[in-house]
């Protein structure tokens, strides 16, 4: 019996590790036993220090926006992995694939025939008022018919343990570099446990991404040149940009490195202009081309959109995907799945109220202290209100914002999202987690087994974003169904999805 978990408070949430006090779920039994063999917490804390130092030495850092000095910090890492049994993953994979197919069809439709609008499944004004809808892309023949290539879908588990989609990230989802680095560190810290658990590898991601990018190149180019476009070294995700460029062996460029001549894109090299065929851009639409979008953008490339429209260069993700990850459009994704695929959604959404709907608006305004309200276009935990954790003044202020611009907000019940044991100071305590798998849509749909498990390390906090005190865990997707004594004793774990 492990001392480490003796005073662990199971709480009123779904706990990833424990089915009840002192009763680990079958797929956590081995970890529970292994930790039980340690001499208390000190062994674990020593491994935690090793892990932290490894991140510092490897330069795995991010920059905080509000910090004017642009200080680099490590993204806090928690040693206790989130383990996903094979049967759960199979369902997630099917659900995420289904969702990606529907979103791709939706974007194809929106920038083409707009059948879904004509048939009244999604209100036309929802699309037309979306900040991320790009009229410039109407009627554009997207290379390979792929209107979205990379999605980072955020999942949470509710009190029953049901996985639910919290949001899609169809523009420039970040965090995948932490998944790869977390695994490298876990291989050093827990080599035996990783092997014994038969954890599915994540290391092919960079290769899969490069294959996807090559697949997008104009078809007449036999050996396409792919580059990664970054806003620059002071961007908070710059580490990830340079990490992925290195892993794929491609050049990392800034807007000023690219020029457009005769609707073709080149990078300025010391020996001359080298043609560029595919751009993995980590820059929002607004900044891509000052001649089409924001004229004050210094980060972009004048003429890029024309080159793109001529089919001389591919962009990943394409321009205009943001219309589908608008948090109000999220509400309609289950209907899109039904409309385009004639299927029921495998992964349910979180119950959502649209403040643009008068009935929902009345409900939202009445119940705001109990709800989580979000601005539809913001990301990274900015522009949101967690009702139960806010002061009356904050709630009143947010209320005014919603009334002033109802199209701009949604609200959801405060979810009791699942917790996972985490190392907190010198004890192990439950902390809320989510999961962001990365879905690649190229020749086929490929999903990295696992994804980024983010953990809200502040006690009681529900916000997992790195900019708001969140950390991360390694996510272990198991290759085989886990067989253990407790499983034969207690019967197979109920499939909860």
């Amino acid at each position: 019996m492990s001392d480490l978990f003796q005073s662990y408070d199971h709480g009123r949430f779904y706990d990833e590790m424990f089915a009840g006090p002192g009763q680990p779920r079958p797929h956590y039994q081995r970890l529970f036993d292994r930790f039980g063999q340690m001499d208390g917490i000190s062994n674990l804390l020593e491994r935690q220090r090793t892990a932290d130092q490894t991140f510092i030495n490897r330069g795995v850092t991010f920059t905080v926006y509000s910090d004017t000095a642009g200080t680099e910090k490590i993204f806090p890492f928690d040693l206790i992995p989130r383990i996903v049994p094979a049967h759960e993953w199979a369902v997630l994979e099917a659900g995420l694939t289904q969702r990606m197919q529907a979103l791709n069809l939706f974007l194809t439709d929106i920038y083409g025939e707009q059948r879904i609008l004509r048939e009244g499944v999604v209100p036309t004004e929802m699309v037309e008022t979306s900040k991320h809808f790009r009229r410039e892309m109407m009627g554009f023949a997207m290379p390979r018919g792929l209107f979205v290539h990379i999605n980072g879908t955020d999942l949470v588990r509710d009190v029953d343990g049901t996985y639910r989609v919290l949001e899609d990230n169809l523009r420039t989802p970040s965090g995948v570099s932490y998944v790869l680095e977390n695994r490298q560190v876990m291989k050093r810290v827990f080599p035996n446990m990783l092997r014994d658990y038969r954890v599915r590898p994540v290391e092919t991601y960079a290769n899969d991404l490069l294959n996807l990018l090559m697949h997008l190149a104009p078809s007449h180019v036999p050996e396409p040149t792919v580059v990664l476009l970054t806003p620059g070294v002071y961007n908070s995700a710059y580490f990830e940009h340079s990490f992925l460029a290195r892993q794929m062996g491609i050049e990392i460029v800034e807007g000023s490195d690219l020029v457009v001549e005769n609707d073709r894109v080149y990078m300025r090299r010391s020996e001359g202009l080298a043609p560029v065929h595919v751009i993995y851009r980590r820059l929002d639409d607004d900044f891509l081309d000052p001649t089409v979008f924001r004229p004050d953008s210094l980060l972009g490339v004048p003429g890029l959109v024309n080159a793109y429209r001529k089919g001389n260069v591919a962009l990943c993700n394409p321009i205009g995907t943001g219309v589908a990850d608008d948090k109000a459009m999220y509400y309609y994704v289950p209907r899109m799945i039904k409309f385009y695929l004639d299927q029921d959604p495998i992964l349910p959404n979180v119950e959502t109220y649209l403040s643009s709907d008068p009935k929902d608006l009345a409900y939202i305004l009445e119940h705001l202290p109990k709800l989580v309200a979000k601005s539809v276009n913001e990301a990274g935990g900015y522009g949101m209100l967690v009702g139960p954790h806010s002061t009356q003044a904050q709630i009143a202020e947010f209320r005014e914002k919603i009334i002033a611009n109802p199209r701009n907000f949604i609200a959801q019940p405060t979810l009791g999202i699942s917790r996972c044991p985490s190392v907190c100071g010198s004890a192990i305590e439950g902390r809320h987690i989510d999961l962001r798998p990365y879905i690649l849509n190229g020749e086929t749909i490929k999903i990295m087994p696992g994804g980024l498990t983010r953990v809200a390390l502040r006690k009681g906090s529900l916000v997992v974003n790195s900019s708001q005190g969140g950390g991360s865990k390694d996510t272990w997707v198991l290759a085989d169904e886990y067989q253990s004594q407790s499983q034969t004793q207690g019967g197979p774990e109920k499939l909860i999805v």
């Binding site: 330069g59 340079s242 001549e261 080149y266 010391s270 020996e271 043609p275």
Partner: protein, 328 residues
Amino acid sequence: MLSRVANLVYWMARQLERAENTARIVDVNAQLVLDLQSRQAADDPKSWEPLVFVAGNDEKFVELYGEAVTERNVVEFMLFDRRNPSSVISCVSHARENARCVRDLLAAEVWETLNTFYLKLKDDDFARYAQLGSSEYLNRVKAQIQLFYGVAESMLPRGDEWWFFELGRYLERADNTSRILDVKYYMLLPDIASVGTALDMIQWGSVLRSCSAFEAFRRSRRGQLNLERVVDFLLRDELFPRSILYSVAEVEQALLRIVGHSEHLVDNPASRLAADLRSDLESIATSEIITDGLHEYLDTIQARIDGIHSAVQDTFIDYPTSRAKILV
């Protein structure tokens, strides 16, 4: 490599070389002043004025410090003042910013060496300089930069990143060695009578030491220290790595390596200018330079080095897109 990245590496090297030579220029002057062995001379504004002129920064100095050309003000200005873009702290700080932007290209140790140096240097001030003594303090600064070069030399792959680094380093060195020679010229200007005296020889010895050239000069068997021999050595020695001729030859080599794999660039303005300057230095007679005016000659050398810099920018970095070669 990307033009922007090439430029960052090029300037990183130039800034560090400039920081090192600024330290050397302050060092040689502090030693020259000591050699004057006179209290009045040490406090005389004329003892420190030349540095400000030689660095080409006199207007900036007057703007910041007025007419008070004291040792303290000049040392503040040249070592610690961030408002002077050529001060040691400014140069090291810029070099570090550049290194940060190209960290992927540098091995971790190369970045860490520079970062550690910067973090130590940024809290230094005149009090620290005075406490350690000019010679000790400046030796430490030089040693840190030498350490960086050593680490870079053993770690950087010999691709474009290395040759743009070398290009920047030696172009800056050629310029700076000419300025170190010029300090002595300014010092002697009011006192032509002392030419050939013991004091004169001590002073030329200091100039050589500031370039770490004293022993090399002796071994070159040029004989007794005098104006012509020292100038000839620092200007035209083929083997000594801080001489102007040697530095320009290295610039020429670096350019050759950079364009080596691009046929369309083999004949380029930067290479032509570097080759012209090298061959002029090889053929000129030092005695004539001195007769015609050393300072004027060094001025033309500096202008030609600047011409090479502009040609480098036009050829590799800021070239107009319309006339650029499209690579296949």
